[in-house]
Amino acid sequence: MTDRPVKLACRHVWKLYGPHPERLLSGAVPSLEQIRAAGLVGAVRDVSLEVRTGEIFVIMGLSGSGKSTLVRCLSRLIEPTAGEILFNGQDLLQTSAREMIEIRRHRMGMVFQHFALLPHLTVLQNVAFPLEIQGVDRAAREARAAEVIALVGLAGREGNFPRQLSGGQQQRVGIARSLAVEPELWFLDEPFSALDPLIRREMQDEFLRIQRQLQKTIIFITHDFDEAIRLADRIAIMKDGAVVQVATPEQLVLAPADAYVAAFTAHVPRAKVVTLASIAQPGDGPVAGNLPGSARIEAVADQIEAASLPFAVLDDEGRVIGQVTGRAVIDVLIGRGR
């Protein structure tokens, strides 16, 4: 992953709400207390990130921790108070309004937390709307819209208005609308929050499929750690507008940066995130077979337990890095100390 080009980067991005926020930033870096004392809200504080092409980058954090605001800064829907945002190396904050329109029409997309469907348009017209703005002719855009509407399971509802749909159905219209364009950079703000578990899983699979096939870059906000684990290459944890830690799901669980992150990940079943590589022990006895080090324990636990011998663990290049026993797996499964 680290060898891919950086798709989106941000450096020292701030968003402070309140009167005269720039004054506070002109001097030394202010602390949270100083921001509050000045009567401001630090919605995003000094965030620096790099997201690589083809990566699914998840942002998590408590309600009000600044996730939506950060994503809005990254897409320049709101002007950050300070900082730099680079999209394919181009500074978005210096980009002209004209060019920004072009970038948004063809290269960026967003699914909104509260759906943002246009009340005066039907499902079909809503989904076709971004294409209409791009200037796609009517027949082509409606055909494409019908296609993605079927994909999200709403075939037959094309003529309905948003208010005639349930919350989950509306959310799927929002997803379909974004799918219709297939932009290279995708911002998804809690895109599945209103969906039932079955459809949610289907939608996740759909995004994974598109992302693998077309090398899309996705920045994804969610409250659901299970979802994050399924999708994320890396997760950023936010607190009070600042990013506390950016790491793989496994690193977050195994090496939380502070008590906040630890509390955040406390109830995550470890077997879902821990890989064989991190519990492999040195040894060179006989083995039942080979397993990749990147495999998560949950996926291979049955296999290891059923065998009487340990398994050899291989790294990406196929070299042996150690062995795992059934006992080590059970230790993780039942949370016995290590």
Binding site: R72, S75, L77, I101, E102, I103, R104, R105, H106, M108, G109, M110, F112, Q113, H114, F115, A116, L118, P119, H120, L121, T122, F129, P130, E132, I133, Q134, G159, F161, V181
Partner: protein, 655 residues
């Protein structure tokens, strides 16, 4: 403790002061002439300068007003040709009609069809019946003159309101600039700007149209800005995120998303235009308003009632139509296919227009409703009122005398006996208590303006008439609102009556009142109460309905009786809404007072009316601004009170 005794104490002091009126020096009762500023003369001089000398560099003000007049005149003439005059050759009696105007059948059917399009057959039939009524009862021509004004004034008002509203939405600075202007335009009584318009544009339909637009536009501006602001921000973000240009965002996303709200604004513009077109008949708009005015002047009861009913019919038809269109605005146009296929109704109406136009040349009754078929209710109304007056004169007179002697006159005497410095001090103190220095300064400034204008006595008379009317309206409206909120059937009935009352132009209220009670303060008060009742009822009902069910349930669980639920939970929670309703009632009452000047009151409204008849620009504007000053004082004090009530109830938000 002291705070609680403050206002009762001041009230007692006021009573004592009023009782000492005989001992009071003259300068305390009425501001001495030394304090008057001759603002009327200044304004008049400024207007004269404006018309005779002022230029915008390339052209003079006079040329500008002429150009504006021509711009409005042209479409107005077109509308008149279509609805009233047709195309004629020659003048006066010798005129030969080349192309007739739209026939009564065509207009009636077109309006009915619009009703079918907007909602259903029932609305279509209803609207058609109302127009048929206009034809059958001989009001057709006047009604069409009024309609021609509306047809021109409404699009101008809507477009202008839309443009200004969008500008205010896009630029907060522009919003801050125009907001006080809009406030003033809405609080200065309509008559007051008839005067300068008359001065700039002369007597005639164009001046009337202009006044109508000025009067009807502010709500559209406000509603546009509000509707755009209340679109969820995510929708705005979405529009930017798919790469809409500014214009695309406005046209394809924001305005359509706001359409249902905007249509409410259009409805407002229509109703206000209708109201104003009637008033503007005083400066030459003609039509139904002129008929009413004429009838009132001649005390011709039958004609007055007939014209009044015609206005009512037109108002109800236009109101229901535009409301149905507003509701429809959110719905799709399902039909597809060629234009002809998609518009069968339009085609049918066009065919009918042609058919009645052509055949009307042979059979005139197709073109113009035949005189022989007209019904007149004039005699009926005159007889009815006559018989009421003969049979119930004593009762009516007793009631009138009772209210006058025990309610109106004592209040009037009391208010006029108060020394003016005391009143100014009280108003300022109220401002201080509700809104600290800023509000106190505003109250002080505005009340001193009344002093300086030399209209103190008229202002206090206005306060008296308005105050009594508002108290009565609230006393009647509050229980009605409670009833409407607590009983579904009653709610429907009361809602319907109130809706209809509100669609009637203010003029109409004068007719029955004058017939039964002749001219004077009592008639004025009754008309004002009828006109201003609606918001008191409506806001009360709304406020009571909006109380969260959980709170009521909490009360019930605690064992409150229904009465306790009402007095302990619902009414206190609804207080901010009720106060807003009272505020609206005051505004309506003030605007109505100017109209009641026609029945011989002696307040600021009368000053404005006199100025209008004498075409005295300065006096008219100053008196108008005095009414606005009273309105602003009342408005700001009540708004501050409502905000305090809200804060106390922990509802947040500022009113």
């Amino acid at each position: 403790m002291t705070a609680r005794l403050l206002w009762p104490g001041l009230a007692a002091l006021s009573l004592i002061l009023a009782a000492l009126v005989a001992q009071m020096p003259g300068w305390a009762l009425l501001p001495p002439a030394a304090l008057h500023l001759d603002m009327a003369a200044w304004v008049s001089a400024a207007m004269v300068w404006l018309v005779e000398q002022a230029t915008f560099g390339l052209f003079t003000v006079k040329q500008a007003t002429r150009a504006l007049a021509a711009m409005i005149e042209w479409p107005y003439e077109a509308a008149r040709v279509l609805l009233v005059d047709g195309i004629t050759e020659g003048r006066g009696r010798k005129a030969v009609t080349l192309v007739p105007p739209l026939s009564w059948i065509a207009v009636t059917v077109a309006m009915g069809t619009l009703g079918v399009y907007a909602r259903n057959l029932w609305l279509g039939l209803g609207v058609g019946a109302l127009f048929l009524y206009l034809a059958v009862f001989g009001q057709w021509e006047s009604a069409m003159i009024t309609l021609a004004s509306i047809v021109i004034a409404v699009p101008i008002g809507v477009m202008g309101g839309l443009v200004l509203g969008v500008a205010a939405y896009l630029s907060p600075r522009f919003d801050r600039l125009q907001s006080p202007v809009l406030d003033l335009m809405q609080t200065v009584p309509t008559f007051a700007y008839l005067v300068p318009i008359l001065f700039l544009f002369g007597f005639g339909p164009v001046a009337a149209l202009l006044a109508t637009v000025i009067y009807a536009m502010p709500p559209m501006v406000r509603i546009t800005t509000l509707a755009l602001r209340s679109i969820p921000p995510e929708i705005n973000d979405f529009a930017r995120m798919v790469g809409c240009t500014g214009w695309q965002r406005l046209r394809k996303v924001l305005l359509p998303a706001a359409l249902p709200d905007l249509m409410v604004g259009v409805n407002q513009v229509i109703m206000l235009s209708l109201n104003m077109v009637i008033i503007a008949s005083m400066i030459g708009a003609g039509g139904l308003g002129f008929d009413v005015l004429n009838a009132l002047r001649r005390l011709d009861i039958g004609a007055g009632v007939e014209a009044g009913l015609a206005i009512t019919a037109l108002a109800v038809a236009l109101d229901r139509l535009s409301q149905a269109l507003a509701l429809r605005a959110g719905l799709p146009d399902a039909a597809t296919g060629s234009w002809i296929k998609r518009h069968p109704k339009t085609l049918a109406v066009l065919a009918l227009v042609l058919a009645t136009g052509l055949l009307g040349l042979v059979w005139p009754w197709l073109q113009t409703y035949p005189k022989a078929g007209e019904l007149s209710t004039k005699a009926f109304w005159s007889d009815l009122v006559k018989s009421i007056n003969i049979n119930y004169f004593d009762q009516l007179e007793a009631w009138r005398t009772f209210v006058l002697t025990y309610m109106l006159l004592p209040v009037k005497r009391f208010l006029l006996a108060l020394p003016w410095p005391w009143v100014v001090a009280l108003v300022t103190l109220a401002g201080w208590q509700l809104g600290r220095a800023r509000l106190a300064a505003l109250c002080l400034g505005l009340s001193l303006f009344l002093v300086a204008a030399g209209l103190w006595e008229q202002a206090m008379t206005t306060v008296y008439l308005c105050g009594v009317s508002v108290v009565v309206a609230v006393l009647v409206g509050l229980p009605l609102g409670v009833l409407a909120a607590s009983n579904a059937t009653a709610g429907k009935v009361i809602g319907g009556v109130i809706d209809t009352l509100q669609t009637l132009p203010s003029f109409v209220y004068l007719i029955p009142v004058v017939m039964l009670f002749r001219v004077g303060d009592f008639s004025a008060m009754t008309a004002v109460v009828l006109y201003a009742l609606a918001p008191a009822v409506r806001y009360t009902a709304h406020g009571l309905r909006a109380v969260p069910e959980e709170l009521v349930e909490a009360g019930t669980v605690c064992g409150c009786t229904p009465w306790q639920v009402l007095t302990r939970i619902r009414l206190p929670m609804a207080l901010p809404d009720i106060l807003l309703g009272v505020n609206q009632t005051i505004m309506l009452a003030l605007s109505m007072l100017v109209i009641t000047a026609l029945v011989g009151t002696r307040d600021l409204g009368q000053e404005v009316y006199i100025a209008l008849t004498r075409a005295d620009t300065g006096a008219g504007i100053v008196a108008g601004v005095c009414v606005a000053a009273l309105a602003i004082i009342a408005d700001r004090l009540i708004a501050a009170g409502a905000a305090q009530a809200r804060a106390r109830l922990g509802m947040g938000g500022d009113a």
